[in-house]
Structure formats: C-alpha cells, structure tokens
C-alpha cells in the first residue's frame, strides 16, 4: 500500500523524483541480470535449490522463538551475501532502508511493550523494557534476514529461471507466463513513463504548481493505461499470428548436480538446527 510520505530537499519536484525512482528500478534489475550471469558459488546452483533454500531459511527465521537463533540466521544470511559476490555498496542501501523502516515501527516498542525495565532515558523518564527491546530485535532481524536472502536469490539467478522453478510448487504454467511477460512489460512501461516525464520536465521552467502537477500525474497514468490496452491488443494479435492457441509450453532444462545436493544438505542442516533450538527446545 502506498502512504510513505516524503519531505526534504527535492520537495515539490515530483517529476524529477518519479524519473529517478523509475530509473533506479531499471538499474537495479539490470544489475541483477548482469550479476546472475557472472560465475560464483551461488550463481552455479540450480534455481530450484535456491528458491526452496531461500524459502526454508526465511520460514525458519520467521518461526524461531528465541532471539539467539534469529541472530544466528542473520549471520548465515550475511555469510551467503559474502558468497554471492554482491558488492557491499549494493547491499548497504537495502539493509539501511529496511533498518530505517522496521526501526521506525519497532523503536516505539522499546517503551510501549511492558516488561522488566532495562534503562531509563534521562530527562524524559521513558523506560526501555527488556521485552520491548527483544521484540524490536525480532522484528528488525527477521525483516533484514528475509530481504537479504531474497535479494541474494534474485541477484544470483536469472529471473526467467526463478519463474520457471516456481512450477515445482504446482503454480500453473499460465501464471508463470503472465509473471514473466509482466516483468518484461514493466521495463517497457518504465521507459514509456520515464520518457513522458522527461519530455514534460524539459519543457517546464521552475516548479509546477500542486494542482497542475496532480493533473500531469493523472494524465500520465491515463495515457499509460490507454497505451497498455493498445499494447495488450497488439501483443495478442502478434501471439495469435504466431500460432498461440492458449496452450503454453516451457522447455525444462534444469538438472540437479552434486553441489545442489550439498547445498540442500547444508540448508537442511541450518534449518534443522534453527527449528531444534528455536522452536523445539524452547
């Protein structure tokens, strides 16, 4: 859901900001595709191994009821990040972004969740409770683990492979095709939207008044909607003329190798330990 409000230096210049966020999305995905094709330990694993492994680790972190296990899994996620050859400069904004978001939500818990008092803020007299601290740590660590692991998965795997491997969960081929086509159209539309905003930006001197900016945004969305509709008709005709009759076939060339079995064993071991110490022995 929307709702994040932005204040700050760029205030008012929404055209530039929208161009920036559209360009950032494109850059990030291009980086992911570039990294996924490079050679590294995680890049060489079968996409299905990575998909299942990521899900199992995230689910273990979400189920663990002791903070030490969650910290342990955060260390594991960090270890995988090192193995993935993703630069620290790329990971840092993701970690900081999630920390700020979850911190904003989790921080008040230090004072609002009742429990044994750990410290008192001098001057304000607010008590930090041990329970609140643990609860905020759970929230922040779990969200960081999940975003790190999913980021590693998408940056070390070609997205077409991730989509293909979704079929092991019994997701219908049609949905997989829709997902994969959507991903491609996102780039086309990011480009269209970015071009529209840039065209407008280059013709505007100074700042657009608020209601004018809103009209521009609504009109851009409207144009994009008309274009989408036109595009879907064109694509349908193109598909039909190439013999598409509603049936979808995907070539499946995935083969599990020894390193996949080793990786599965390692992940199973980590999850087993996490479940043992995080759920069963508590």
């Amino acid at each position: 859901m929307g709702g994040e409000a932005h204040h700050g230096k760029k205030r008012g210049n929404f055209v530039q900001r929208t161009i920036d966020s559209l360009a950032e999305a494109m850059e990030r995905s291009l980086y992911a595709e570039q990294l996924a094709s490079s050679r590294g330990i995680l890049q060489n694993l079968d996409p299905r191994t990575k998909l299942i492994g990521t899900l199992l680790l995230i689910a273990t972190a979400a189920s663990a009821r002791t903070i030490s296990v969650v910290i342990g899994l955060a260390v594991v996620a960090f270890g995988f990040a090192l193995l993935s050859r993703i630069s620290f400069a790329t990971l840092r904004p993701i970690w900081i972004g999630m920390f700020v978001f979850s911190g904003m939500i989790g921080l008040p818990a230090l004072f609002l969740v009742p429990g044994p008092i750990l410290a008192t803020i001098p001057g304000l007299g607010w008590h930090i409770s041990a329970t609140g601290l643990r609860s905020a740590a759970f929230l922040i660590l779990r969200s960081e683990i999940s975003i790190t692991l999913s980021f590693i998965m998408i940056t070390t795997t070609l997205w077409t492979h991730i989509l293909k491997s979704l079929r092991i969960f019994g997701i219908p081929t049609l949905i997989v095709v829709i997902l994969s086509m959507t991903y491609r159209y996102i780039f086309l539309m990011l480009q269209s939207a970015s071009d529209m905003f840039e065209a407008r930006q280059s013709r505007v001197i100074g700042k657009l008044p608020g209601n004018e900016a809103r009209r521009l945004a609504a009109a851009t969305v409207g144009v994009l909607l008309s274009k989408s509709f036109q595009l879907s008709n064109d694509v349908f005709m193109a598909m039909q003329s190439r013999g598409f009759r509603g049936e979808v076939y995907i070539l499946d060339e995935f083969v599990l190798s020894t390193r996949d079995y080793v990786a599965m064993l390692v992940i199973a071991l980590i999850c087993g330990l996490g479940i043992w110490f995080g759920i069963i022995v508590t």
Partner: protein, 347 residues
C-alpha cells in the same frame, strides 16, 4: 504499505494464503471464460501497469507526496476479478524482485490490497456510479470514493492482522514475536496515515484518471461492463466452483483445533476466570455475562457433536450442519420471497 516478512507469524501468513487462494481460483476461472486467449497479454500488461503506478510519486496538497496502488483504476477498467489477478501479479513481482513486501507475506499483501481492495473498489464504484452515463461527473466522484475506501479498508484489515499478533504470538516471557502492538495502537497508527496521505493519493489518482479517460479514451471505461455481461454464466455451472470451495473449507475446518486458547473476545464466562492465554483473568466473571451465558445453550457447543467421538470428524460435521442451516435459511427466504412476488404480480 506492503507488509515485510517478520511482521506476521508464519501461521497468519499461511492463513492469508489460504484465504486468498479461492479468490484467485474463481478470478482465474472467470477471466479464462470471458477473455480466453486474450487473458495472457491483457493481464500481463495490466499487472505491469499496476506495478508502475505504485512507483509514481504523487504530489499532495500540503507539499508531501504519496504513492497510490492503482487498485481502484484496475478494478474500474478490468472489473474486480481481472484486477485481483493483475494487482496480485504486480505485488508478487514487487516482493520477489524488488524486495517491496515480504515473501511469506505475499498472501497477506495480495489478500489485503488486491482482493479486498478490488472488491471494495468495485462495490463502491458500481454503487455510486449506478447507471449514469460514462462521461458523467458522478463517475469521477464514484471513482474518488472507490479509491479512497478501497485503500482504507485494505489498511484497516492490515492493521487488524498486525494487531492480533501480540495477542496470539508471544514467547514464554511474554515478548511479542511479530508486530508488537495490539489493536489499540496498530489500528490508529495505520489509519491515520491512510485516512490522510495514502487515501488522498489513491483518491486523486483514481478520480484524475477516470476524468482523463472520460475526455480522451472513454471506451476503456466500458470494457469492464462488456466483460461482465459475457461473464454472467449463472445457474449451477457458474457457482459450481464456489460450492467446491465451500466443501474444501468444511474439510479444512478442524484447523481451528490447532489454535491454542479461545479466539480473542470470544471468551466464555469460565474462560475469564480460569484464563485462556489470550483473555484477561478476572476474579469473577462479569455478572451480566454469566447470566446471559446461561440464557442460551448452543446445540453444537464448541463445534462438537455429542454423538461423534472423533473430535476432528465432529468439527467437519459441525461445519456441514452449520453451512447446511445457513443455505437452508437462504433457500427458504428465496422460496418465500418468490411466492410473495408471484402473489403480488397476480393481484
């Protein structure tokens, strides 16, 4: 906002997936029937469109900016079922490829935004717009209300999901394991942001786009009704899938036995004295509650059939009996109202 992982317990995430699944299924079937082969490109392109809309920074009065989800626009153009799928696909791609929203929380995010959002937007838009012409001002107002209410109902449901976490999921020391705030904090905290900034963003985008389409491409506003008229299969065939889903839900009903304690706020007078883990523990049950509790004794108390020894089977049977009674009531109401209608038309 999209819920990240770690905010909802795995049990809640699984429940939300289960809640979303029948809607996805019905939506898929309906779309398949009406659009057939056109479905693939249309939904893909609209999912991409929804994704892009979520990235727009919309300037709001007062100098802040907000993001809209575009769920109401998708509903107005594609209808609720198409919108459910298109927005869900956009949310899945956001979570998997852009880390916006958790992986385990995909079911919850899709349920809240794509499913509830689409249904609310559809009801409000259809209700307010009525049969007004496609270019009527009333449609702009209907779109504005649809966007505003869709996002706020979605936010409210999200807040409730957050708010129940500390009631049900704590460790032995009482530490909330997931979203740490109860309903009394979660609901106002979520709603303040959505009744103002996010709601306004959605309102302005939805109304603005409908007003734009009225001027430049009015055919898009009639696409939905075209789909709806061809989709109306009716009869047993149209509802067969829903009967299947009801049957599946009945079979799954013993899942309720897995939950520890009593649902929040559904305590009996005895629970309040002994404590259930979720209820407050009182020295004595409130006298009013104790008196009222004796007033009515349910025939299938605690969903147990007295003559069935197997607890889970008893649960399923209770679900069958309960659903049967509800269906029977509706059938009887239907028969009576049909008779009354005939009698009135005869006289």
């Amino acid at each position: 906002m999209h819920i990240p992982d770690g905010y909802l317990s795995p049990a809640t995430c699984a429940t939300m997936f289960a809640a979303a699944a029948p809607f996805w299924y019905v939506a898929g079937q309906r779309i398949k029937k009406t659009l057939n082969m056109r479905m693939v490109p249309l939904l893909s392109v609209f999912a991409a469109f929804s994704f892009i809309i979520m990235m727009f920074n919309l300037p709001l009065p007062g100098g802040t900016t907000g993001h809209a989800t575009g769920v109401a626009i998708a509903t107005i153009v594609l209808g609720p079922w198409g919108s459910m799928i298109a927005v869900s696909v956009a949310l899945v791609i956001q979570a998997v490829f852009f880390g916006d929203g958790g992986i385990l929380a995909i079911g919850a995010n899709c349920f809240n935004i794509a499913i509830v959002g689409s249904l609310v937007a559809h009801w409000v838009y259809q209700g307010v717009a009525g049969k007004s012409p496609l270019t009527a001002k009333r449609r702009v107002v209907a779109a504005a209300l649809a966007g505003y209410l869709a996002i706020n109902v979605a936010a409210f449901i999200t807040a409730v999901e957050f708010g129940v976490q500390p009631l049900w999921f704590t460790d032995a020391a009482g530490t909330p394991l997931y979203a740490p705030y109860g309903l009394n904090i979660a609901i106002p905290a979520m709603m303040i942001g959505h009744l103002t900034i996010a709601g306004l963003a959605e309102l302005l985008v939805t109304a603005g786009v409908v007003a734009y389409l009225q001027r430049s491409d009015v055919s898009l506003l009639s696409f939905n009704s075209l789909v709806a008229t061809t989709a109306d299969a009716g009869g047993w065939n149209g509802s067969r899938r829903l009967w299947g889903i009801i049957a599946a839900l009945m079979v799954l009903s013993p899942l309720g036995l897995l939950a520890a304690g009593t649902a929040w706020g559904e305590w009996s007078a005895a629970d309040l004295v002994s404590g259930t883990g979720t209820s407050p523990v009182l020295a004595q049950a409130p006298t009013g509650l104790a008196r009222l509790a004796e007033f009515w004794s349910a025939p299938l108390a605690n969903y147990n059939l007295p003559f069935v020894a197997h607890e889970q089977f008893g649960y399923i049977m209770a679900a069958v009996v309960g659903t049967g009674v509800i269906i029977l009531v509706f059938v009887l109401v239907g028969i009576i109202s049909e008779r009354l209608r005939k009698r009135n038309s005869a006289t």
